[in-house]
Subunit: 591 residues, 2 copies
């Protein structure tokens, strides 16, 4: 028997008990004739004491303990003379009767503390040690708890968790697939799923009207910061539903999570159309924790002789509270900031609404103070506020203003990660035109249904008509991050065929890639819809973090490598021969 209690369990009421604990030595220190050991496990830390009256052997053993040694310690629970109210076990300590070293430890390459002295790369290499630190332990425990809450909620709602296959068929549309050569079918490949989309729709055809799965998905993308080649989705689908049914069901799930995790009662999740989100927030995932909404002042600003604005499709801006005091230097820095390629503006116009009622602007020579005040009024600016204006093509400029708005909200401390402002964004366009490839892409995915009222335009051959088709598609947004999204799906094989036609698939192509699902739709597909949440991101946001890496036990780095196990790696020629493949890459040994 290794332990009678965990290191987080003993309280003042346990005083006098004989106990055995096991765990890791957080630290051992000598004070006077006594040796104090902080013993740590997943559940907490308990103080062990080898008193000066203890045997010589015990004192020697206690003194010999290094950081992260694994020990088994027996003793008696005693009340501490100087209690530590910050620790749940802070009222007691264990007067040791024996210590047994279960395993020694080399000195860890970084400190196992809440804030470690190890760099990111080093900690990644020794992930199993980094995972001993409280922030990561709490992240993984939160993840477990969220998954468990989600499953209980969905089970109560009559959903079935059904596992879909990981070895599926490559359908090169959208992101790149990871592929898996098949030894038994030489020359052929499986693909790892980017999502179980088609399988969950087939489950709807099969009559499983409430499906979910917490499931790994795979995308072979060039990894931007905070993207992982494998990630986890809460994937859901329902039959015989309209958009409203889906929103109500999953709003219920998120409310349950807010209550269970943060004891927050969310009354109702507001809804916003995609067009309003773009117009007012310059983003399809608005952060509504703060105002500072975007206003269109094109009409007001044009025809006054300022050529930059006069030639622009759109002039819009935001009013930043309390920033009229910005210095020249600060405004220059802000101008440079919006001109960075990540934002892409050509310049920035400001209007200061001074405390004394005067206005000061970078375009004073073109506009009267009255005109500038009117603009500021439109923005809802008060005395002391700073109005920032950008111009250019409408959606593009709104997007830049959206980025600027987030930046100013951040600078003003309006984005407390433990304020939670969920939002549904609805009524997305069905299609997006891409000038480069000169074709439409599905904004959500090719299985999203056009709104029934827009079916006429969906069958039109005019680009302008098709651009106006909206979908019953929706995103769940939290604090400026898209946590999930979904849509009502096409359940009519003719509508699906038309969709593939619009997306430029030849009949043969559509048949080869999606024949099985179009075929399935011929045998009584019910109306259905669903959504998927990015589970890693849900966990991170509920944990008050923006990056997902700490919420994944064994993440990959930006090169898609697991530096702990050193994967990917070269494989034997025998393996490749069996798979009937050859590598054309020159072999390089990497660190």
């Amino acid at each position: 028997m290794y332990r009678t209690h965990t290191c987080g369990q003993l309280r003042i009421s346990d005083v006098g008990k004989t106990v055995v604990l096991a765990g890791w030595v957080q630290k051992a220190r000598k004070m006077g004739g006594m040796t104090f050991i902080d013993l740590r496990d997943r559940y907490g830390i308990t103080q062990l004491v080898a008193s000066d009256s203890a045997s010589h052997e015990l004192n020697e053993a206690a003194l010999g303990l290094g950081r992260e040694y694994v020990i088994k310690a027996a003793g008696t629970v005693a009340e501490r003379s100087s209690k530590n109210p910050k620790m749940p076990t802070g009222d007691i300590e264990i007067i040791l009767s024996s210590i047994e070293i279960l395993n020694k430890s080399e000195v860890p390459p970084f400190t196992i503390e809440d804030v470690s002295d190890g760099g990111e790369e080093l900690r990644a290499r020794y992930r199993y040690l980094d995972l001993r630190r409280n922030p990561l332990k709490n992240a993984l425990m939160l993840r477990h708890r969220i998954a468990h809450e989600v499953r209980n909620y969905l089970d109560e709602q009559g959903f079935l968790e059904i596992e879909t296959p990981y070895l599926i068929k490559s359908t090169p549309e959208g992101a790149r697939d990871f592929v898996v050569p098949s030894r038994m079918n030489p020359g052929q490949f499986y693909a790892l799923p980017q999502s179980p989309q088609t399988f969950k729709q087939l489950l709807m055809v099969a009559g499983y009207d409430r499906y979910f799965q917490i499931v790994r998905c795979f995308r072979d993308e060039d990894l931007r910061a905070d993207r992982q080649p494998e990630f986890t989705q809460i994937d859901c689908e329902m039959s015989f539903v309209e958009q409203e049914d889906v929103l109500v069901t999953f709003e219920g799930m998120m409310k349950r999570l807010f209550k269970a995790i943060h004891n927050i009662d969310i009354k109702e999740v507001p809804r916003m159309s995609w067009a309003d989100a773009m117009d007012n927030y310059g983003s399809d995932k608005p952060d509504i924790r703060f105002g500072m909404t975007i206003k269109d002042v094109t009409a007001m600003m044009q025809g006054k002789g300022f050529p930059v604005f006069d030639s622009a499709q759109y002039v819009g801006g935001i009013a930043v509270p309390g920033c009229a005091s910005y210095t020249r230097k600060q405004l220059d820095e802000l101008t440079e900031w919006v001109k960075r390629p990540q934002v892409g503006a050509k310049g920035l116009v400001y209007i200061k609404l001074n405390e004394d009622g005067s206005v000061k602007s970078s375009v004073d020579k073109f506009y009267t103070p009255e005109c500038l005040k009117e603009v500021a009024d439109t923005m809802g600016a008060a005395k002391g506020d700073l109005v920032l204006l950008l111009c250019g093509p409408r959606r593009k400029t709104q997007t830049m203003l959206g980025v600027l708005r987030i930046e100013m909200g951040q600078r003003l401390g309006l984005r407390n990660p433990f304020d939670f402002a969920p939002l549904w964004v609805c009524d997305f366009p069905l299609l997006e035109w891409d000038d480069e490839t000169n074709r439409f892409y599905a904004m959500h995915h090719p299985f999203t249904a056009p709104k029934p009222a827009h079916l006429d335009k969906f069958y039109s051959n005019e680009k302008a008509d098709l651009e106006q088709v909206c979908a019953d598609a929706y995103d769940f947004v939290l604090n400026g991050t898209e946590l999930g999204g979904g849509s009502i799906r096409i359940h009519d094989s003719k509508v699906q065929a038309r969709m593939f036609e619009i997306l430029g698939f030849s009949k043969e192509d559509a048949e080869y890639k999606f024949g099985f699902i179009m075929n399935a739709f011929k045998f009584g597909a019910p109306p259905h819809g669903g959504l998927a949440f990015g589970f890693d991101r849900v966990c991170a946001l509920f944990g008050g973090q923006e990056t997902i890496r700490d919420y994944i036990a064994f993440p990959k780095n930006n090169q898609g490598r697991d530096v702990m196990i050193d994967a990917p790696s070269y494989i034997d020629d025998v393996q490749m021969d069996e798979l009937m493949i050859r590598s054309t890459a020159p072999r390089q040994d990497n660190a």
Copy 2:
């Protein structure tokens, strides 16, 4: 709104309510002036009636419905005049006021009934239709329920579900890995995990002392019947435990499942050593629902002049109840049966213990009736029983007798799938010698710890010593099927290094393949152990089936193909170029 109720919901107490149902037309039939429709969804079947007093349009619409059409039907709940006590909704029917066809269906290629007229291949191709049938629906619902029970039990026991990566490193030991070429690391490959073994051990090093995961695993094996290239495990690991702690914890889990699923109270799961299982049942996964145990009669049968037995290492047999009446033809058939390569015996000796007290044997000329009776007594045979004897090398012959025992139990109807007889098999040998490759293999896996009492022999260089080393390894067996297994692991890096040495890994090889885990063990690895259950098989056995295919939503066939989506498949040259691989297989278009 598509429905107010499901098709399994309405009862006599709902009579008079106006309702809307949606589902699939199971059948529509005309009787007198009325049309009856059986409407089906996941929850059941409800009878709809278009009465002769209904409008002409409604009657026409009802008559036009084909099998598997998806409809929405409104009407009023009425009491049936002829009730159907076999259906939960059999007391009522819906007097229709309207029908709307939501989607038509082509005539399905086979009947959607509990017993279908479709062959296996056809049903696999249209899996989404096969999944509409009750046996498969019940299988997937059972699977959901078992997973949910398992998660609740383990959560209550303080286990954390932690997801481990699917893109890992290839370690060619044991079964073949599926590999995934990395585009970002040209020439290198990820492997899909055969199990999360090393990751769960790293989680123990990281201090997460109770881990579990219901997780997909992958093995590129030549598929025997009822093996899948991807399968699901309930994977578990605990720290600071001895074998007893693991057994008690997971016995608790199985008891919980038996209670929740079948309302069966399992008192205690018996335990049997591997050696006893082999000696008495000729199997490391004994079916203990019936007796007919194997007895060693080598001493009794040798030295009596029968050369076949005299030259054998071992003679053993079983007593088959009530089969003394077997005819010559039946005995010949049984002899042929044991001589099939699947069993591999050279011949079969029988002793009939006739009802009149006489004995009759195929080796009468070598043995006295007294001797044969003594043998029969040793077997525990009664009058009317048939003793069957085999001889040869000890373990091999016991194994053949084990196969024969199962066959006879099957023929005698002693293997009711809804009788449940769980069992722990313990004390497995640590190592297995393979004559072909002239080396030891790990019987369980290379991370299994030798029993502490056997450490001396573990460090011996004598083959005979190493063969005697036992492990703290254990299997959970149900009705002759291994449902799970595990062991106490090595947590000492020196013991692990010795294990790799015994298995014939060079230092470099061990370092390359398992360096990260041996390294991890240097930083305070706790004593730990765990196990994994084959989840597909758990579901099948709880469902009373031996084959797992019905318990997997989208299984693959014996060639590893998903014939519904037609995967694996050929991929674009562009994809291969990006991955810097080439196929050396000639392209063949398969059906």
